[in-house]
């Protein structure tokens, strides 16, 4: 029986209405449940590889933060906590809209799905926009590591609450900014990939996909989106909140 279902192929229009063999059931799965569980398991495993990927950067962060703690504090204090907090809020909100998207797909609400996906894209872009402003600020302040890096800012800080660093320790503030750019840059790259996929999902949802009971693509993308969010939840305190001045 199974083999006949394969022989007729997915082009067979009768299968559209067949509950056991809907059109989205791929040929090598026996049941829809198996297909869904497989996809979700694969996604979790992929996220595990992502954790290991970011893990290398976190390891480097851990090491240098222990070695050059004062430089890390000084570097951290130059970041704008207002923009960082706003971005955290924006990202958590986007996770909420993504979760609403998954929910809408499950209750087969096309309009809700489209709205949620659009909002998620919007919030993702807001996050990237704020990030760009922050990067630009670093450029203006000469805090981008390299030839134009201003060591002077850390040896003779303008703000009286900052502790002046010895010149060699001030050099190591560069390392903090290396890691700041590498980690937030890698995170932003994941956001860009995520937003690109969201546009594809939005296009497909516009044409009626994902509200026919086949929600696993949306589910799994949701997992990815939440993962990227969680990475930020770790990055924010590690990069922005090291021994902050009060009220700055």
């Amino acid at each position: 029986m199974d083999s006949q279902a394969i022989a007729t192929g997915p082009a067979d229009p009768h299968q559209e209405h067949d509950e056991a063999h809907p059109a989205y059931l791929r040929h090598h799965f026996v049941t829809v449940d198996q297909q869904r569980e497989t996809a979700s398991f694969g996604m979790w495993l992929f996220l595990l590889t992502e954790i290991m990927f970011f893990g290398g950067l976190f390891m480097a962060y851990l090491l240098y933060r222990n070695w050059y703690y004062d430089a890390f504090v000084a570097g951290s204090n130059t970041l704008s906590i207002g923009l960082g907090t706003t971005n955290t809020a924006v990202l958590i909100l986007s996770s909420f809209t993504m979760a609403m998207g998954v929910y809408s797909a499950e209750i087969r609400n096309r309009k809700g799905l489209l709205t949620s996906l659009s909002l998620t894209i919007f919030l993702g872009l807001v996050f990237l926009g704020i990030k760009t402003v922050e990067y630009h600020d670093k450029y203006v302040e000469h805090h981008i590591p390299g030839a134009s890096f201003s060591v002077e800012d850390f040896v003779h800080p303008a703000d009286k609450r900052d502790v002046p660093l010895a010149p060699d320790m001030a050099q190591h503030a560069q390392l903090y900014f290396f890691l700041y750019f590498a980690m937030t840059g890698m995170h932003a790259l994941h956001m860009i990939i995520g937003i690109s996929i969201l546009f594809i999902l939005l296009y497909q949802a516009w044409h009626g996909a994902y509200v026919n009971g086949h929600t696993s693509t949306i589910d799994n993308f949701g997992l990815y989106w939440h993962f990227v969010d969680i990475v930020w939840i770790f990055l924010f305190p590690l990069l922005y909140l090291i021994s902050r001045h009060p009220l700055k």
Partner: protein, 553 residues
Amino acid sequence: MSTIVTLPNQQDAQLPKLSYLNSEYGLKSWLLTGDHKRIAMLYLFSITFFFFIGGAFAGLIRLELLTPLPDLVASDTYNKLFTMHGVIMIFLFLVPSVPATVGNFVIPIMVGAKDLAFPKINLLSWYLYVAGACFLVFALLNGGVDTGWTFTTPLSTHYVNTHVITAAMGVFIAGFSSIFTGLNFIVTIHRMRCPGMTWFRLPLFCWSNYAASLLMVLGTPVLAITLVLVMLERTVGIGVFDPTKGGDPILFQHLFWFYSHPAVYIMILPGMGVISEVISTFSRKRVFGYTAVAFSSVAIAVFGFFVWAHHMFIMGVSNYSALVFSLLTMLVAVPSAIKIFNWSATLYKGSITFETPMLYAFGFMGLFTIGGLTGVFLGSLGMDIHLTETYFIVAHFHFVMVGGMLMAYLSGVHFWWPKMTGRMYPESMSQLSAVTTFIGFILTFFPQFIVGYLGMPRRYHAYPPEFQVLNVLSTAGASVLGIGYVLPMLYMPWSLKYGKIAGSNPWQATGLEWQIQSPPLTENFIDIPIMDHEAYDYDWLAHKTEHEVTTVG
């Protein structure tokens, strides 16, 4: 006890009319296929191609070392030769060898599924492999890389002016190919097993590939991010590994070996799986201590993650951590020994025959044991400081990787060749090549243990004249070894047209893949099978064969 199994009469065998090979025609049907068997074939072609390129580099290295003088190539060229040999052999041959070809072909069938869990991702992984390979070939054609396959900082980031970025990019991309293969295997083995196929009914090949996949999935991303940091350091001067900016080159070593030590288990574990299948089939006995062999694969994978710093004993890690890593390194010998002992016990009172896969498997057992035991030498702190960076190390890992893994790979390719193509390879010719490989191998690499112990360092193109005899032996052995590898290259394609027709189960093996036609249908099974017996149950097979005879008669 072994069961007496008579091999079927292959005179009656016929090629099936419809199979995965002739279900569709045209280049497009291959390049856009989702069929795990076709993707396995694509991999087989590509890795064989790169094996011979990597082998050519090895040949040039041995030719240079024929004489003590630096007379064949300049020192820079020599550096590039051994670097490209290492990079190509490791990332383009050894890592994908068994999993991506044999594993891709048989794992879905072994677990009773119609395909791997994610066919498109499987195809993507082949394309990533090709893309990574293109980067490496590009780097090669433009003058090569000379950092050694380890991309050691700060050499790779500050002191060489070769195509490090291109090569690192190639390895980065090929790494994702291996991540996706591993991911696909793990999900397939978890979610796609047929009814009745419990974990402890899985063939041991699945267990060892599962363990290797865990390593691929958890280790490779760390290599990826490390290479990204190396590339960033070269391009924009990010100073994470640069001591002048406060960075630490030892951090690179930690991150690199965190992947690259488990990577040697990625390379060897699938080979061990092949050996389990072959030893059992040609002794007609259940693998002795199935559970122990299965769990030893997982144990190797787990221990494998906690021994990386034994590559760094001379690099200034603390004495206390060196002690711990030395101890853990010795622990890996335990599960490896469990495997060797269990295979030997499987042979005991088996009804052994000496077909080619079995000869390669014997080669594996002997050479891997030597390679493994010398690994224990190198794991002990005092010995390591004497022997590291000498030819002893070179001999050690070639015993494991070439003597072990390549033997296992050839064993596997010969063993499943009838299933892949529907035809037999020529038996006596291939037995000859198995023996040639073994002799050539011993002659190539055994002298290197001695020359290394005497103090000849690796990675130099000249050496003191007193080492010449041993080096000449080694080069002579390499020529024999080369013949051993070229032979299958000739008779395997030959057998595609002229080989005897194999029939569905030429070895009377028990795996599910042998119960279907060869070559299999695109969907593998007409109906999803139901597994009602243990793996390697030769009584079941004998009974089944009897039953078949009565129904036909």
